[in-house]
């Protein structure tokens, strides 16, 4: 808890910062600025989830995600789902994140933000261009069964109870 200001999160401050983030996104961005523009609202929500998890959580993230869906003209739920998963991931590593200095915090948030963007892509892909069938997932089952067979067979082959102790 070296750098993280745990206090300082009253409702007014939270609402002001989120509103500011929302306003920033409404600026008419274009060109390169649009390409590199950070997702202010997502960063804001994740920040408050980290510092005020009792106040800002899944519900806020979901609503804000719906707003983003509207804004980007995407399918409703695309960003909402991704933001909610982002909130979960932050909550998952929250106690660890709070220990870090800003540089390491940012480094730890990178994979989370990356995952959020990938989920936006995945959900959009499933919703906008649905695959012809989900049969492509069936090999997952058969792979598991194959694993079971191989592992079981090896265990039988080497005798009962033999374990790898490498």
């Amino acid at each position: 808890m070296s750098t993280a200001p745990q206090a300082g999160g009253g409702w007014p401050r939270i609402l002001t910062s989120l509103t500011l983030a929302l306003l920033l996104e409404q600026l008419p961005w274009s060109g390169w600025a649009l390409v590199v523009r950070p997702d202010f609202v997502l960063v804001g929500v994740l920040f408050w989830v980290l510092h005020q998890p009792a106040r800002i959580g899944f519900g806020t993230a979901f609503f804000v995600g719906l707003l983003a869906d509207f804004q980007y003209g995407a399918v409703f739920g695309q960003h909402a789902i991704a933001y909610v998963i982002g909130v979960y991931m932050v909550l998952f590593v929250r106690l660890r994140l709070l220990q870090f200095d800003p540089l390491r915090q940012a480094a730890q948030l990178f994979p989370i933000l990356f995952a959020v963007q990938l989920i936006v892509l995945l959900v959009g892909w499933l919703a906008v261009k649905p695959p012809t069938g989900l049969t492509i997932l069936l090999p997952v089952l058969s792979n598991t069964v194959l694993w079971l067979l191989i592992a079981g067979w090896l265990r039988l082959w080497h005798g009962k109870g033999s374990q790898d102790r490498a």
Binding site: Q26, L34, F70, G73, G77, L91, G124
Partner: protein, 294 residues
């Protein structure tokens, strides 16, 4: 001790449970929106909510542009006015000829008992917001159903076709750009008259599909809308061919083009509203309208 009515071990659901609940809500949102298109009300609500905010956030840039414009040099303005006047004189001649041709065309059509072409009405609109989406290139305009816009209408700027209106709210509308992936536009090559189908390929580029390998097409050729789908009027410039190449594996030429309209640069565009409305495509839809499944 716990009094009656108060749970002794009351605690909130853990994050995984809450995540699952919200995921379920999100997936149902997706299904309701994609399958049943039932969330247009929510979209309209957000639109009404955000529109004033967007208008407001546009003011700083507008003010900056105003100030910049205020301090331009007098000489510059005069020069610009002179070129505009000259251009207007030139255009007036063309317009007279076009009127004459239009009258003649109408008479001939009447003689031949052909269907008259739908007339057009222009709606001016300004670029409100440029979205970025993984799957489509869209811009938001500041005119909506209030100004008579419907989804499916073509949008042009001074130099060419910008795209097609794909979603309309009360006070704003979304336009799918010509270069958006899988946005199809029926075109013809201006020089030879050969018809083809231009498909957006993202990255501000178009691709002319299914051109036979011996087709006469060169870099520099202009592609105009053919009007064959009755969605776009005929003769609107769409793109200029930038590269023609031949691949060993495909029986077709690979033709790439650059859109002529300033897709993300032009801030004022025109929406062409056809009066009377053209024939609505039957459920297996015409090509350009199916290009963006909602």
């Amino acid at each position: 001790m716990a009094t009656s009515g108060q749970l002794m071990f009351a605690r909130r659901l853990g994050p995984p449970a809450r995540l699952l609940i919200w995921l379920a809500i999100g997936v149902s949102c997706l299904v309701v929106d994609v399958r049943y298109h039932a969330l247009d009300g929510v979209r309209n609500g957000f639109s009404a909510l955000l529109l004033p905010v967007r208008e407001m956030m546009r003011t700083p840039l507008d003010v900056a542009a105003e100030l910049g414009g205020f301090f331009t040099r007098h000489r510059l303005l005069q020069n610009e006015r002179d070129t505009l006047l000259a251009e207007r004189a030139r255009l007036a001649v063309g317009v007279n000829a076009a009127h004459e041709l239009g009258r003649e065309n109408a008479e001939l059509r009447a003689l031949l008992k052909l269907q008259t072409r739908p007339g057009q009405q222009l709606v001016h609109a300004a670029l409100l917001y440029q979205g970025h989406d993984w799957f489509a290139q869209r811009i938001t305009l500041d005119q909506g159903s209030g100004a008579g816009l419907r989804s499916g209408l073509p949008v042009v700027d001074a130099s060419g076709l910008v795209g097609q209106v794909s979603r309309v709210d009360a006070g704003s509308s979304e336009v799918t750009l010509v270069s958006s992936p899988e946005q199809l536009t029926p075109v013809f090559v201006e020089r030879t008259g050969q018809r083809g189908l231009a498909a957006g390929s993202g990255r501000d580029q178009l691709e002319l599909r299914y051109m036979p390998i011996h087709a006469d097409i060169r870099p520099g050729d202009r592609l105009l809308t053919s009007g064959i789908d009755r969605v776009y009027p005929a003769g609107v410039p769409v793109a200029r061919v930038s590269r023609v190449s031949r691949s060993q594996s495909s029986p077709y030429l690979r033709v790439e083009g650059v859109p002529l309209a300033g897709l993300d640069r032009s801030h004022a565009v025109l929406v062409l509203v056809a009066v009377p409305p053209p024939v609505q495509p039957t459920p297996p839809q015409a090509t350009p309208t199916k290009a963006t499944p909602p």
